[in-house]
């Protein structure tokens, strides 16, 4: 097939994985920790402790892969509202959109779940050239660890140096958390975000409970 023919095919290759009515998302989709019933744990469990845990369920996660040209960078910036972070291990946030550097040709974009399809569609309409944008929302979930001992839990679970001198706010690392893969980002001095695989989320939740025991674990709904 020649390039000219390919250009003429206007095909919609993005499919919405969620119901049109965004209100329905929470009645139709279950987060990977649905069975844990974090809302009840938040009421019944400790109200004070060194470590706070919450899940950010059903977020929209998109993996962007490309070697962006100057033109593509401009287009991506206008689509996301924020420029692609080109510096290794950095991230950029604008509103509810966060873009994380994952590798020299890969970025992880997160935004609220009901806006992912819209962003995918706009990429398809506006971004030209060679790139790939894949919705990975269904395979991942997002946790947040905070509190004065959150860093101690991370130290027990990873080999990363989290001292603020080498791990400032907005830094991102892809690493192993308790031997399972995780993308960890610092939100502020005492808050960290973990993007983990859906199939490992229950294991990581159990691990976090165990690792936080000595500090007191507070579940935030």
């Amino acid at each position: 097939m020649s390039d000219a023919v390919v250009e003429n095919i206007k095909m919609k290759v993005v499919a919405n994985q969620l119901p049109e009515d965004s209100e329905k998302i929470h009645s139709m989709a279950e987060s990977p920790l649905h069975h844990v019933d974090l809302a009840s744990l938040a009421k019944q469990g400790l109200q004070e402790g060194g470590v706070h845990f919450c899940e950010k369920p059903l977020m929209g996660l998109l993996t962007l892969r490309c070697h962006p040209s100057a033109k593509q960078k401009t287009a991506i910036k206008s689509l996301l509202g924020v420029a692609l972070p080109m510096e290794p291990l950095t991230s950029a946030t604008k509103g509810d959109v966060t873009v994380r550097w994952i590798s020299p040709d890969e970025w992880l974009i997160t935004l609220s779940g009901d806006k992912a399809f819209d962003l995918e569609s706009r990429f398809q309409d506006k971004l030209e050239g060679h790139y790939s944008l894949v919705n990975i929302s269904g395979g991942t979930t997002v946790f947040e660890l905070s509190g004065k001992d959150a860093m101690n839990v991370l130290k027990k679970s990873t080999t990363i140096d989290f001292h603020s001198k080498v791990f400032p706010t907005d830094k991102v690392v892809s690493t192993l958390f308790a031997k399972s893969s995780a993308i960890i980002r610092r939100l502020d001095e005492q808050r960290f975000e973990l993007v983990v695989r859906r199939s490992f989320s229950d294991y990581i939740w159990l691990w976090i409970q165990d690792a936080s025991k000595e500090y007191g674990l507070v579940v935030d709904a």
Binding site: P88, L89, I102, S103, P104, E106, T159, I160, V173, S174, T175, L176, S181
Partner: protein
């Protein structure tokens, strides 16, 4: 535990984030059909096992998932240098065959 510098992430990480992917600079024969069985077999299966300097391919499997090269002393485990795919090693041993020493292969 080795402390390994990833040239893509531009920082040191623990060995558990990496996988060794064998000998570096192995060039696929340009015309496999023209290879003798011996040449093809050596390309597929035969690897060096030096005592001393070795050029290895590593992958930052739990991090950026990119490959890079490493010159390592297999006797002392000392990492002599890290260099990206396509670059030439600067630390070379006289016992290393010429096509590697000259960096002809990627």
């Amino acid at each position: 535990m080795l402390h390994i510098y990833c040239p893509h992430c531009a920082e040191y990480r623990e060995e558990e984030e990496f996988h060794a992917a064998g000998q570096a600079h192995i060039v696929r024969p340009l015309d496999p059909d023209a290879c003798t069985d011996k040449e093809w077999g050596e390309y597929l299966f035969f690897r060096k096992n030096p005592r001393g300097l070795h050029h290895e391919l590593w992958v930052h499997s739990a991090g950026c998932r990119k490959f890079f090269n490493m010159t390592r002393d297999t006797q002392t485990y000392e990492i002599k240098e890290i260099y990206k795919i396509g670059e030439k090693p600067s630390v070379v041993d006289s016992s290393v065959p010429q096509e590697i020493a000259s960096g002809a292969a990627s």
